[in-house]
Symmetry: none
Subunit: 220 residues, 4 copies
DNA sequence: GATGAATGAGTTTTCATTCAT
DNA sequence: AATGAATGAAAACTCATTCAT
């Protein structure tokens, strides 16, 4: 094994295996064979299969959180809502393997339980979504809905579509999805009579935003 | 073991185990311990672990399909859309464990492979959803979207909410969710200028409805 | 494997292996080979290697405790002291393998930690020794020594001899040892001028005997 | 790692590990963790685990042999016997860890097999004990007992006491033990009617001392 | 129907040891 | 001297499944 890259090869191979057969369905031997690493090396770098999954998870969640935080919060309300939908879909397309890995139900629960740094990363990402939505609501730019329902309305359809896409069961192209699901989210949240072009110059002060405790997480 | 209920206890225990650790992550020994049945009993009633999962799956899918088909297809377009959302949420709340079980990625593929009658049950349920949406589209009652996108817009938010609810991370009550997510779905799909009260008397002929190939399945 | 005797065969084989190579030095594979049982059977009956050792230990300690309690506490003081020495040596000779097993330092510590029933068994055995010695002391039949020193004086030499015997390094025969070590113990504890033939009819009331806490154990 | 003390740290850590879990039960990784040294360092200084044990053993045996040889063989028989008991207890108290290490059954056999110079060291030490006892016996100063029984009578109780002490189960203080176990040994070996003060001026010629084959070794 | 001992292949994990840096 | 990645054989352990009772 070429020195210094073993750890990465193991993670790469493990991700591929986990996607094909699930974590529980993958054996260390398969990871070993696929990565070219030896048994000893795998246990040199990781505590075991679950630890590999956790490492992948940390990597994926960090990347996802960055993407979430990178969603622009400025522009018209419609642009902001659409950007959220586009952000999710783009990240999932660019990180297809990781996205499917994180969707595997068995993945996130152990992370929340064991890796508190990861919990913080996710909290922060969700907070940035919450901040945007609460601000739009406060400014009367979208309908006054419970924050988690607004989030479900914006991101739920995207996730539904992405799941179908991952399974090869999607009829619409990603471009159509971004356009139509973004449009649908805006249509669902906009206030019919309101001005349409009040652009947001800067997200207002987060005054009164209280961090509610959220114990478990999902990407969407 | 009290006579005649062993089989049920095994299914119950298996469902709980599968939810906690996934099918592959659950061992027969765990089902044995949780159900109080003996190894021999389990193999008396079932062919093995996968067979138990299949039995659970068949039970769940049948119940789900009934719920889907029971959604009234008559009334105003808005009422129909809202009924779809309410139907999903109600079924999931009444069958919480089964709902989460069927959402596990590893569940449905083996069913599709082994139990062709289950595939028919699922196809028929999905077809009934598709039929309704295509009909609404054809009549100009909702926006003309790809069928899978329309489905994602209606059911995606509900699923998102249900996930949060199952994790204890939902702020809104089920009643709020049904009302607001139903409303959002309708707002997203309705055609702004159209008459609002054209009620559907009967779902039109399935004319032109072509059964597209769907390789994998998801409830939502 | 003939039904119903597997567990015993495993214990038997394990004892032989442990004596030859120590617990840590014995592999499950060796126990499997020697017992004729399969890996699965070993894990069916025991939790692992340490659990087998614990089971052996429990067996051995119970047998030892019975032997200790069976030592007659009546007769002349000299006879009582000699009986203690003889009791230890006889038990060790009759249970040679178990005796050597229990002498392996690694054995007793985990037992004390994990099996409280065993701790009770040993406490009781030691208590019966303590009772006898305290009674002799109280009656002025032996020198007034700390109870643990009296015990060391009586049983220490026997244990020393038995260790040498187990290693094939003993020059004296067991008969000589019982006679001479019994005699030595009596010579060491008797009070020179005292009557020699005050026979004990019955061990006196255990008045004032307070059970001191003893946390760790050794056979002798 | 501070220069020049790595080797010592490794030995120290290894001794602690060996005492806790035995040699076979200790892994190089544990010694590494406990010593703070790296795998490479350990193999730089030692050939492997057994080599570390051997080094410890050599160190301990040399110290023990010196203590044994330092026991004064002159004075009254009683003083000589008492000095043997005191010598053993004092050495064990000053070298508590090493004492317990050398008592572990698995320790001495490999040494005897691999390090012939160590065998000589041990033989010589035992020989010096044997010489004293044979001389006392020959002069009629103590009872005529098999040499190994005399040794057991003198050192067995001390060892019994030391074991209890190491386990925290000893009631008597070391001072009491030295006094009372020394006294007991003398009481057990003295010849009742004999003169009490025949002091030994010099250990007699080793006339007739035949070196018996001793296959295995024990400190006591 | 029910029981739980028995099976043995497969999987996970440990560990002494080597070696390039 | 020191480091820690890499190795791979050996050991520990799991588990679905069979079967005599």
């Amino acid at each position: 094994m070429t020195r210094g890259q073993t750890r990465g090869l193991i993670l790469e191979a493990a991700l591929a295996c986990f996607l094909e057969k699930g974590i529980a369905g993958t054996s260390i031997a398969e990871i070993r064979a696929r990565s070219g690493a030896t048994t000893g090396s795998i246990y040199h770098f990781f505590g075991g299969k679950e630890d590999i999954a956790l490492a992948l998870c940390a990597e994926g969640l960090t990347s996802w959180a960055e993407a979430v935080r990178a969603v622009p919060a400025e522009g018209t309300p419609e642009a902001v809502i659409r950007a959220m939908v586009v952000g999710v879909i783009d990240w999932a397309l660019e990180n297809a393997a990781m996205h499917r890995f994180l969707l595997q139900g068995e993945v996130l629960a152990p992370v929340a339980a064991r890796r508190s740094e990861m919990v913080d990363v996710m909290m922060e990402a969700r907070l940035s979504q919450e901040r945007i939505l609460r601000d739009l609501t406060a400014r009367g730019a979208i309908r006054p809905l419970a924050w988690d329902l607004a989030r479900a309305i914006i991101l739920g359809p995207a996730e539904s579509y992405l799941k179908a896409l991952a399974q090869g069961a999607a009829a619409a192209t990603p471009e159509e999805a971004k356009r139509d699901l973004g449009g649908a989210a805006w249509a669902a949240l906009r206030i019919p009579g309101a001005d349409r072009d009040k652009s947001i110059s800067k997200v207002g002060a987060n005054a009164g935003l209280k961090r509610r405790r959220v114990q478990k997480f999902d990407l969407l």
